[in-house]
Symmetry: C2
Subunit: 479 residues, 2 copies
């Protein structure tokens, strides 16, 4: 068994080389493969099944809140991308350009969408005429492309998969409410479905989305203390509406510009799952999105009745849980290691002695805790144990974050803290770009967000220039 | 009411101009909108909801048969596209080329995938090593792009949405079995879910997929007698495997090439739904994919209790059917016309007198048949009526096809038949490309398929050259 395990789980230890550990897990757990297009990945069945579970949970929630799915073109004419000044400045340097169709040179270049604000606005101009047409609450699931030099599976790829919500509202208040509502949807999803605690806050002007008035974000801390931006929600005011000439007749019969939001969450979140919960045995999946929640491993399966019993249990549990039974010729030890690598939350072992005693053993992936469960109590015990795995993962991630979140009142102190360990540093900021840039230069940190839950660190003056601060900021190094 | 109806339903009559009727329905039923990218469409919420229902039914079926979803890159390097000779000849003239990333010119051009055989093969070369790795049963839901000059929403667009299954098998027999299995999945889906009868058969070499050994197809007849290819399934032999050097160690320990299939069904099928079932009042949707199966229209809704009762019924039925209640200020007549335009299969009317009698009126979209239904029998009656709508639509479509399917033994006879009406002509064919081309020139028809259910027309000689025939072929004009 020990040998088998070694063969399956030959991955770099997290503490030796976290980056290498990450790519090992992506490969060994069969989540993704490199493709022949530099920077683009192949999402393999096991990885894609995680994404489908993520999609299902979010899509259901979006629809409950009245959102409708649509499909926009994947191409944007250059002139359309240029309509909103800040937006084009932000995105033009990182798009792929289509210049030929078949053998003909195009009159106007088309870019592959890096994001779809401009396409949605073009369509909204066709369909928004009266306040009765508002709000428009649209979303699309698609892939977008940004020309990146350095890429890593899920975390940063040229093409990535996401959903992008785009909404139009009668008033600024309604649009801001939507921006906040959707950030909260993302935050609840991360905490309740992925067991990833997040800090909610607002981005500084430097870090906000190109063309937005305000960008809200959820920031998660990975196992190594670095930050990962896990979802963003933007308020645009009426800037795009003016640029695209979208007007509606209001309740008072005057022509008005609608107010706009957009919000997105991408396959990056799979990277967050890997780096928040994984360990030296591989992936550890939160039960809500695990493609297999319970793996049934028959022990001594050549003995009469074992495989039949294992199959009977699988069939019985299949309507309630995502369950698989592995009847392959591999040894139980090999199977244990394989499904640990794949992060399956619960392993159910059943052998001749268990059958005799009318019970089985269930082992949790997160802490290897074993429980003997009478076979007639499986339907009650499995949900409890899945819940326990979720709670265990959340608690461990929260502890990691709390242990590595410090306060600082000087750049020297930030450097000192981060020289010992990686993490978040809470420090006051005056609001000036120059101080933000100085922290990047001198401490290597970027502003992660101005958290909604503000507090005062030290005497309330900027950690950099000493002037009165406008906000407390989470600083850190980010993926 | 008559006036309201006119306002909503101002569309061209089918018999006056079928093409104009089609685009009117697409627009008035709010299925799709034109985008600023020539040849690309915006799929609006109501259209996309139909596609989501299609996806759900097919995806469930694919998974029952053991298929797994994956995601491949949207870009293909030129050298990869060129690996299989027939394939590149077929597709290179109609792809969009990316030549620049950001401000840099690329060393090698990348095309936006027109289909993904080459990408799947590249990946299969990484993951297929042993017979134990087979079969690989992969599918992806995505959009692809083909540079088309003349486009029409859903029927022919530059970018279109589809699923593409790609599978690899140990033996030719298994792969051929898969090709046929998936064609049958498409045929059952069309008949059982979309109420569209189809002819199953094989394409001639001229009409088959670029790079395939055999292409199977399902052909549907539209209301105007023209054919629409509604789904295809291809058997590739080991041609791609050889071109991409995909080999596995077989059971006999020798190196072998696997055998491959692909199969696809696209948003074109929404065009088929429109043109098979629609009428002069707009869209008519088969219940299995209708976003709204039952629209509840309160009558005299200002009267006390009407809206409450309508809402009570909606809430009660919502867990069993896709149901909507329209409490807007529009008149009942306006609403009747609006949901007829949108093709909702059943309309449930409830007014003060109905409430008094503890009943409601249900009107079928397909034939306007009215049924009085006691309120306590809705849960039993609605499924019966939905079934009746489905059966009615299927029967009508089948009658149309049967009425317009003729046999011919000469090109003159084909011309004579088609000069009276459009339809399918069954005629024998010797198998020569020159005869197929002559039928195109002299009768304006293409071979739709060599149906699996063969019969002998006339004396069994080719309709064109008089030589002994190899097959009976369905000929027709196609979208």
């Amino acid at each position: 068994m020990a040998d088998n395990k070694k063969m399956v789980n030959e991955i770099t230890s997290m503490d030796v080389d976290f980056a290498k550990w990450y790519t090992d897990v992506v490969k060994k757990a069969e989540l993704a493969d490199y493709s022949c297009v530099k920077g683009c990945m192949v999402i393999r069945p096991y990885g894609y099944a995680i994404w489908e579970n993520i999609q299902h949970i979010l899509d259901t929630r979006f629809k409950e809140l009245g959102h409708e799915n649509v499909a926009m073109p994947m191409l944007i004419p250059e002139s359309l991308l240029q309509k909103e000044k800040d937006h084009v400045e932000g995105f033009a340097p990182e798009v792929a350009w289509v210049t030929h169709g078949g053998s003909e040179k195009l009159e106007e270049r088309l870019c592959i969408r890096p994001t779809s604000e401009t396409l949605f606005c073009e369509h909204y101009a066709h369909v928004v005429h009266s306040y009765r047409d508002l709000p428009k609450l649209y979303n699309q699931w698609c892939s977008v492309l940004r020309w990146e030099k350095t890429t890593r599976p899920f975390l940063r790829t040229m093409e990535f998969f996401w959903q992008e919500g785009h909404t139009m509202h009668e008033t600024a208040e309604e649009a801001i409410e939507e921006t906040e509502r959707m950030l909260n949807v993302y935050a609840s999803f991360c905490e309740d479905s992925l067991a990833i605690p997040v800090v909610k806050g607002r981005k500084t002007d430097k870090e906000k989305f190109a063309g937005a008035e305000a960008t809200y974000t959820i920031e998660a801390m990975m196992h190594d203390g670095k930050a990962l931006q896990s979802g963003t929600s933007h308020y645009f005011g009426d800037g795009f509406a003016r640029a695209f000439d979208i007007q509606f007749t209001g309740r008072d019969n005057t022509l008005q510009y609608p107010h706009q939001t957009s919000w997105g969450l991408s396959t990056r979140i799979i990277g967050a799952i890997i780096m928040t919960h994984g360990d030296d045995n591989g992936l550890v999946l939160p039960p809500a999105v695990a493609p297999i929640q319970v793996i049934i491993v028959p022990v001594a399966q050549h003995k009469p009745g074992v495989l039949d019993k294992a199959e009977e249990l699988r069939a019985r549990l299949a309507s309630k849980f995502r369950v698989k039974m592995d009847a392959s010729d591999n040894s139980p030890g090999w199977k244990f290691a394989e499904y640990e690598m794949k992060g399956v939350p619960l392993r159910l072992e059943i052998g001749p002695k268990d059958i005799e005693n009318n019970q089985c053993v269930i082992v949790r992936r997160d802490n290897r805790e074993k429980t003997f469960v009478p076979l007639d109590q499986l339907e009650e015990k499995i949900p409890e144990l899945l819940r326990a795995v979720h709670d265990g993962l959340y608690r461990k991630a929260l502890e990691n974050r709390e242990r590595r979140t410090w306060s600082a009142t000087s750049i020297d102190q930030i450097n000192e803290l981060l020289s010992k360990d990686m993490g978040f540093v809470k420090a006051m900021w005056c609001g000036d770009l120059s101080c933000e840039e100085k922290l990047k230069e001198e401490a290597g940190v970027t502003s992660r967000c101005m958290p909604f839950e503000q507090e005062t660190i030290g005497d309330g003056t900027c950690v950099c220039c000493g002037k009165p601060a406008k906000a407390m900021v989470y600083w850190g190094k980010a993926y």
